[in-house]
């Protein structure tokens, strides 16, 4: 209490600048007068009385200082003094200050930008309470190499009753057609268990979410909508609750509106952008059977306090006991397992490596910019040697000098950090453009207070770390030598130049590491970009529509392939009348090259005639449904057999086309044409499908993966709901959506038509995260190279300046100017060689670590390493050339006379 009171009084004195000096003076004068009078009374002479009084009082100046220290807060007061002095020093050498602040701003600005991305994605991936309890449950059939096979309803009940989880919920991302408005719209909707929101732990902002104990076997006709949909489609109607909504021709009732910031969990930006949730018990039709797994996403919330490892242990035990109980459903060769993954991990899993790489790269840039500034500070230290010596001679203790110098470097770093942040904040809209939208939680990325705090903390830490060594060395000098010799050849100078060389070498090494990383990423990207696709994306636009999928099949007007064929053929006929369109085709979304969401692809069990009679656990294969024209529009090559023809219809024998990878994998050394397979799906009639053709492999799933087995079915034999129409020819992507919408809705006005994208765009956006990290690392490498170049330039310039006398003497003694040039260049080269040597070691380590991000290029690619080393050496030589020229032009006469 007393201490606090004293602190605040002193603080307020400091702030208001109130001084007690005048008061003390008067008090001392009075004190001396009283003491003198007493001394006089004791019989001293007036002079002696005054003298004795002064002696008794003590050293007046020391008293004044103590008194002042008590009146104010000396620590902060000194800090203010130091800051004021530091500001004056900055203003006095504006060139130095500007370069230093700009360098720091660059480093901290870049670091802060990357931090803001990482803060939103890696550090806070799940905007839900207690995110560590949330897991995704994945069932695998490791024996047949199938992952994420989904779970069946009886299995779901087993999980719910296991006691491991508070709640388990299924979730199925899809889309819904909302009709009844002026224009049918298509929104990202999910069908979820009633316990879904209880698992996430988020409540509705208006109304309620679903009752987690709702036991309706099928859809309970309740929907919860997002805040965005509520505002967009319903004008934020406060009486929305209880209103009906026509989704895929079924009537649903709105029971709740989610809060504005709510984002769904999910692996793609589309899934996370879900705007409507419908509750479903998932067990109405067909009656739940243990073996019928559905491709649902299963999310759950662990019991509080249960660790992931413990939960996985309990789960393994459960799986083992289920296998024993139902041996027919879990054949040992399938090796059924259930795996828990933290939900946060599933969201960021695929970009984590890229983001870690980026933060590493930006950390190196920050390091290099700090090193550069430390180097500048060292250079300036020699210029200020005399000042330091004089101050020391006048009695300043070394700690006081270090504090002063540290204040100066801290001021520089904080100014740099704030500048970097300000530039970033000003340019945030521009910067955000470069971030790929497919990044998880893209919308949450912002330049916030937390980011500002990060920038300031990093600046202060960097200022202390990189200001300390120069301050230490600057304040350490041999007094008499320095003052006597005007700063030349003092003992500190050799240490300083050694430190400076170490700094430059480390700068060169770091920039080499970054350049190698950038070079490897660039090569990977380039290779991916030029990879033979196996299909031709140019001049093709895909436009999507979805057919209604009502809960009661009897109300579905596109239930059979024949019913759907009428629609498709009419749309084809109309498509060909559009200007520029030469060819057209249709497929389900699973066949949409590189553009579909992960949920669209449902691998199906592939049962081969004869092969799998005894094997109850068939392999899974990517299956999609296409129209006969699909292969031609996309330019895929037929290798053997035939493609689909117009005669393949619902009532003719079912046929399929596979790709070469499927032929190689499932019919090695055999001709697959003519083989019979059974591709199981929910509505399938149990009939054999004949393989009629084999096409060449195409990278329609992923540019990086070649040879994923694919099986294509004919859309005129198997109806599909989620459709993509393809238009090949001279079409304008901007105008085509409206034109196509007119055509499709002329056939069925209830169909939404959305998302026109050229396949070229789909291709390039499938590379967006790769491109982003490649561009960023390249940018950072360029920055690092520039900084390292500046660093070597500064150091060589300084060395030349210090050796001017020596050079002049050499010249006077008859040395050739070319020799001088050589000597200086050699110094630059030695630095470059040392830097390159250290850098290569680092680069090998780093490239080994980032092997997973590379494609088609070895992490130890010789040409990349050699090329980068050559570039670095060239830059080092160029940077030392300018000071070397200056050294060559030293005039011996003037130089020797001037010193």
């Amino acid at each position: 209490m007393k201490v606090l009171r004293r602190f605040f009084i002193r603080l307020s004195n400091l702030v208001t600048g109130r001084s007690a000096d005048q008061r003390l003076r008067e008090e001392i004068a009075e004190h001396l007068a009283l003491q003198t009078e007493e001394n006089l009374r004791a019989g001293m002479s007036p002079t002696e009385a005054r003298r004795q009084a002064a002696i008794k009082l003590g050293a007046a100046e020391a008293i004044r200082q103590d008194h002042h220290a008590e009146q104010s807060l000396p620590f902060f007061e000194n800090l203010l003094f130091d800051l004021r002095y530091a500001l004056r020093m900055l203003v006095r050498s504006p060139g130095f200050s500007l370069i230093a602040i700009a360098t720091i701003a660059l480093g901290i600005g870049a670091t802060t930008a990357i931090y803001s991305v990482i803060d939103a994605t890696l550090l806070h991936p799940l905007p839900y309470p207690k995110p560590s309890e949330l897991v995704r449950i994945e069932a695998n059939l490791t024996g047949v190499g199938a992952h994420g096979v989904g779970i069946s309803i009886p299995e779901l009940r087993d999980l719910q009753n296991s006691g491991i989880f508070q709640n388990v919920s299924l979730c199925f991302f899809g889309s819904e057609n909302v009709t009844g408005g002026s224009q049918p719209t298509h929104i990202a909707g999910a069908t979820v268990s009633p316990s879904y929101f209880a698992v996430l732990g988020v409540d509705a902002a208006l109304g309620r979410t679903f009752d987690p104990h709702d036991a309706t076997p099928g859809p309970n006709l309740e929907v919860v909508i997002s805040d965005g949909l509520w505002k967009r489609a319903f004008g934020a109607d406060p009486r929305i609750l209880g209103k009906s909504l026509r989704l895929d021709n079924d009537l649903f009732y709105v029971v709740g509106v989610m809060p504005p910031g709510f984002r769904d969990q999910g692996q793609t930006s589309e899934e996370r952008g879900t705007e409507l949730w419908a509750a479903d018990g998932f067990s109405s039709d067909p009656p739940p059977v243990r073996g019928t797994r559905q491709p649902y996403v299963t999310v759950a919330r662990l019991q509080p306090g249960l660790s992931l490892e413990a939960a996985q242990g309990h789960l393994d035990a459960l799986v083992a006991s289920l296998k024993k109980e139902y041996p027919a459903d879990y054949p040992p060769q399938a090796a059924w397992t259930i795996h828990l993954t933290p939900l946060a991990e599933t969201l960021v899993g695929n970009v984590r490596q890229s983001l870690v790489l980026l933060s590493g790269a930006v950390g190196l840039v920050l390091l290099i910019s700090c090193v550069n500034v430390a180097n500048l500070l060292l250079t300036r230290a020699s210029a200020r040697g005399r000042e330091m010596a004089v101050r020391q001679a006048l009695g300043a203790p070394r700690t006081r000098l270090i504090r002063q110098l540290l204040t100066e470097s801290l001021l520089l770093f904080v100014l740099g950090g704030v500048t970097g942040f300000a530039v970033l904040f000003g340019a945030r809209k521009f910067v955000l453009q470069f971030i790929p939208e497919s990044l998880p939680r893209f919308n949450e990325i912002s330049i916030s207070w937390g980011v500002l705090a990060f920038a300031i903390i990093v600046s202060v830490a960097a200022g202390i770390i990189f200001g300390l060594a120069p301050a230490w060395l600057t304040s350490r000098r041999n007094l008499t030598a320095t003052i006597g010799q005007d700063g030349r050849g003092s003992s500190g100078s050799r240490q300083r130049s050694r430190l400076r060389h170490v700094l430059v070498i480390s700068e060169l090494a770091i920039s080499l590491v970054l350049m190698v990383a950038a070079g490897l990423l660039l090569r990977s990207f380039w290779d991916l970009f030029r990879v033979p696709l196996g299909f031709n994306p140019s001049r093709v636009v895909a436009i999507e529509t979805t057919l209604p999928n009502p809960n009661d099949p009897k109300t579905d007007i596109y239930h059979t392939a024949a019913q759907e064929a009428v629609l498709l053929r009419e749309v084809f006929r109309r498509n060909l009348t559009l200007p520029g369109v030469e060819e057209t085709a249709v497929s389900d979304r699973a066949a949409l090259p590189l553009g579909h969401g992960q949920g669209d692809l449902r691998p199906r069990p592939l049962i081969r005639e004869g092969e799998d009679a005894q094997n109850r656990q068939p392999p899974l294969i990517d299956t999609s449904t296409v129209s006969p024209e699909y292969f031609h529009v996309l330019g895929m090559t037929l290798l053997r057999g035939r493609l689909f023809v117009d005669q393949d219809l619902e009532d003719t024998p079912s046929v399929a086309v596979i790709n070469q990878a499927a032929a190689r994998t499932y019919w090695p050394n055999q001709d697959p044409v003519g083989k019979h397979v059974h591709v199981r799906s929910r509505s399938d009639k149990p009939e054999w499908t004949t393989i009629v053709g084999v096409i060449a492999d195409a990278r329609t799933e992923s540019l990086a993966d070649t040879g994923i087995p694919e099986l294509y079915l004919d859309i005129y034999q198997r109806p599909a709901k989620f459709l993509a129409f393809y238009l090949r020819g001279q079409v304008y992507p901007a105008a085509i959506l409206a034109q196509e919408r007119t055509q499709i809705q002329a056939v069925d006005p209830e169909l939404p038509v959305f998302r026109a994208e050229t396949l070229d765009d789909a291709l390039s956006s499938s590379l967006s995260v790769r491109r982003f990290s490649m561009e960023m690392v390249a940018l950072f490498a360029g920055t690092a190279l520039l900084l390292a170049g500046l660093g070597i330039y500064g150091t060589i310039s300084y060395v030349v300046n210090e050796q001017r006398r020596e050079i002049a003497i050499r010249l006077a003694l008859g040395a050739q100017r070319r020799d001088i040039l050589k000597i200086v260049l050699r110094q630059g080269l030695i630095l470059a060689a040392a830097g390159a040597g250290a850098g290569l070691v680092g680069a090998f380590i780093v490239s080994h670590l980032m092997a997973g991000l590379l494609y088609g290029v070895s992490p130890y690619d010789l040409s990349t390493f050699a090329g980068v080393t050559a570039v670095l050496t060239a830059v080092a030589i160029a940077a030392s050339y300018v000071p070397a020229l200056r050294a060559m032009r030293v005039d011996p006469m003037t130089t020797l006379h001037s010193e």
Partner: protein
């Protein structure tokens, strides 16, 4: 020059408080002389060191000060004990007496007493 006893630094504040308690409001010189008179030459204080201490006590709220007229009718700063200071003096006095008593007893003990 011999250093002042260390104990002085800690107890000077207590002496100041006690002086003000006994004599009522005093100026700096008055306090200094009183301490000197009572402690004799044992505590030959540099009288000036009193002033930073007075300021500290004032910041802590144990004493207050105001301008007044000295014996010679000149301007002088007078210090007086506040309520908080009086309370502080009481607790510190009893603490001090306790400590002193313990130390005294400690020194009185002879080897024979312990057996």
């Amino acid at each position: 020059m011999k250093e002042k006893p260390d104990v002085l630094q800690g107890t000077l504040a207590l002496m100041v408080l006690k002086t003000l308690d006994v004599l009522g409001p005093q100026h700096g010189w008055g306090i200094a002389r009183r301490i000197e008179q009572i402690s004799g030459d044992l505590l030959a204080v540099n009288q000036g060191t009193l002033y930073p201490l007075l300021l500290k006590l004032e910041h802590e709220g144990s004493i207050a000060s105001e301008w007044g007229a000295s014996e010679n009718n000149r301007r002088a700063r007078f210090y007086r004990l506040t309520g908080a200071g009086r309370k502080q003096l009481q607790t510190e006095t009893s603490e001090w007496e306790q400590t002193a008593a313990i130390i005294a007893r400690f020194f009185k003990v002879k080897a024979g007493d312990l057996t």
